[in-house]
């Protein structure tokens, strides 16, 4: 029982990070029907941006307050990663829109390799780490034997994720910008007939997806304390799995899918074999694609017109 609760806590933490990345996949897919395979690497770059920002703030500028540092790091990572993704869309995807369907996909894979190699060359191939911070924890259950703990870092991940998801949800469902995004997702031609600048809306979608990936990247860095150039791939593919599991195109689906993948992964690690945790996560992708291709909250492919 204690093990289960502990893995539940760990799984929700990991799942929050997957969920944040998954939103970027699902939004971009929703609006231009493209799987942005570079998204995992954008996440990785954002963790490096956070790392550099964090080191600059703490060692050079001597900011002692962890909360303040975290806040500034988040903002810097979100802004810079947003700019990066904006540029990627402009340079690598937009010129290919209207070309054959696989063209932007191939371009995205190329962009993924480019980002990975660029970071490898610029930052070195080894793990980069930050000093541990927020090291306390609450003991929730179990006195002498197995202790169930909830660390401050996990609380931080939960709170930051919840706040940003709420803000993001409000933006998409309640503002004119979000309405324009949803309109473009459903019918770009009609949206433009109503005066919506579709290209601009697509750009904004990339920036928003990147900003949430940057939140995930910052949380990942703070939680694990290390990051390497190759760390974009596996979380990226798992977040993509999460988006497919939740129903690609569906925003709540991405978050639920992320949480489920995180839970499966941690529970599998606890009860079966930690070596096969990725196998477990990706088996879900295979099973979902076979039996539930539209995902948990997705729409069936064919729509009444």
């Amino acid at each position: 029982m204690e093990v289960f609760v502990q893995q539940l806590i760990n799984g929700i933490t990991l799942g929050s990070i997957y969920g944040l990345i998954a939103i970027g996949y699902t939004m971009v897919f929703g609006i231009i029907g493209m799987v942005n395979f570079a998204h995992g690497d954008v996440f990785m770059v954002s963790a490096f941006v956070a790392l550099i920002a964090f080191l600059v703030l703490t060692t050079w500028l001597g900011i002692a307050s962890v909360t303040l540092a975290l806040f500034i790091v988040l903002i810097v990572a979100m802004v810079l990663t947003g700019v990066l993704n904006w540029a990627i869309e402009r340079l690598a995807y937009r010129p290919l829109r209207g070309s054959f369907r696989l063209a932007p996909l191939i371009s995205a894979i190329g962009m993924s390799i480019f980002l990975m190699n660029f970071v490898q060359v610029a930052q070195g191939p080894r793990n980069k780490s930050i000093p541990p911070l927020l090291s306390g924890e609450f003991v929730l259950m179990g006195g002498s034997g197995y202790q169930v703990t909830l660390s401050y870092k996990q609380i931080m991940v939960w709170v930051v994720t919840a706040v940003l998801l709420a803000a993001f949800w409000w933006l998409v469902s309640r503002t004119a910008l979000g309405r324009a995004q949803r309109a473009c997702e459903q019918d770009q031609k009609m949206a433009s007939l109503l005066g919506v600048d579709v290209d601009r809306t697509v750009s904004i979608t990339f920036v928003m997806g990147a900003a949430l990936a940057a939140v995930a990247g910052t949380m990942y860095l703070m939680y694990y304390g290390v990051i390497s150039f190759a760390d974009g791939f596996t979380p990226g593919v798992k977040a993509f799995t999460a988006a497919v599991l939740g129903g690609i195109g569906s925003l709540p689906g991405a978050v639920i899918g992320g949480l489920l993948i995180g839970l499966v992964e941690t529970l599998w690690s606890a009860y079966f074999s930690i070596d096969y945790k990725d196998v477990a996560a990706f088996s879900i992708l295979a099973v979902v694609l076979i039996f539930l291709p539209q995902g948990l909250l997705g729409r069936p492919e064919v729509e009444k017109v």
Partner: protein, 248 residues
């Protein structure tokens, strides 16, 4: 007469290598209802979309209010307050009726007036009962009303209506034509109407054009065309005017 609000001059539009419009000339003056009738595939909807820049005219010019808009991007044309209720209605099915209407405000830009909602809904009381419902759950007639209402939200200077009566029960179609007449009378709304339902359209319009295979073949006042035997033969099913009135 002053310069027309919308002037189409020698417009040619292609789909790939197929020439859909072969040099169309057409005027819409401010405050007028102008209709374009023609058979299926004559190029009516193509002209409608060419005015909005999607697809673009490959030759000729589209001039709106003295400004050449031939090469302007579609969303900028919309922001000149040329609103279209397009073929197939194109309601955002997964958005609520209210959100669909709010989308209509985009074209008005900073001049968007949320109070316009009440004025528009006054013409479409059916919609005000359905504001929280998803667009996709509306009936065909309600969707058509929503498409027109959405186009009206930006207080358009020119309203383009593409086959508003298509697939509707005759009574509902009549209602929609009545609303258009009313809008033109009370708000001096300029309307360019494309229809297959020639009888109703010609009765409604001040002036009319007939299009055959991408060229304008006839023009005149609505009443004038209604009387012409060749129009009656081709578009009003001979003498069966009364039955034609019930629409398709």
């Amino acid at each position: 007469m002053a310069e027309p609000l919308l002037a189409v001059r020698g417009v040619e539009t292609y789909y790939g290598s197929i020439k859909a419009l072969k040099g169309v000339d057409l005027d819409v003056n401010e405050g007028e209802i102008v209709t374009l009738i023609g058979a299926n595939g004559a190029g009516k909807s193509t002209l409608m979309m060419t005015i909005c820049g999607n697809p673009r005219a490959r030759a000729g010019r589209v001039v709106f209010d003295g400004r050449d808009i031939t090469t302007l991007p579609t969303h900028e044309i919309a922001r000149l307050r040329i609103a279209q209720s397009p073929e197939g209605r194109r309601i955002f099915a997964r958005m609520t009726v209210l959100e669909n209407l709010q989308m209509g405000l985009v074209a008005a830009g900073p001049e968007a007036d949320p109070a316009e909602l009440d004025r528009v809904l006054a013409f479409f009381p059916r919609l005000s009962e359905r504001l929280a419902q998803r667009g996709g759950t509306l009936s065909g007639g309600e969707q058509q009303m929503l498409a027109i209402a959405r186009a009206l939200m930006s207080r358009p200077r020119l309203l383009l209506l593409d086959e508003p009566s298509l697939g509707l029960a005759p009574l509902i179609a009549q209602q929609i034509f009545d609303i258009v007449r009313e809008l033109n009378r009370t708000r001096r709304l300029t309307v360019f109407l494309v229809e297959q339902n020639a009888y109703h359209a010609l009765k409604l319009a001040h002036r009319a054009y007939v299009m055959v295979n991408g060229v304008i073949t006839m023009t005149g006042s609505g009443r004038d065309l209604l009387e012409r035997p060749e129009v009656q033969a081709a578009y009003l099913e001979g003498g069966r005017r009364e039955t034609a009135a019930t629409g398709s």
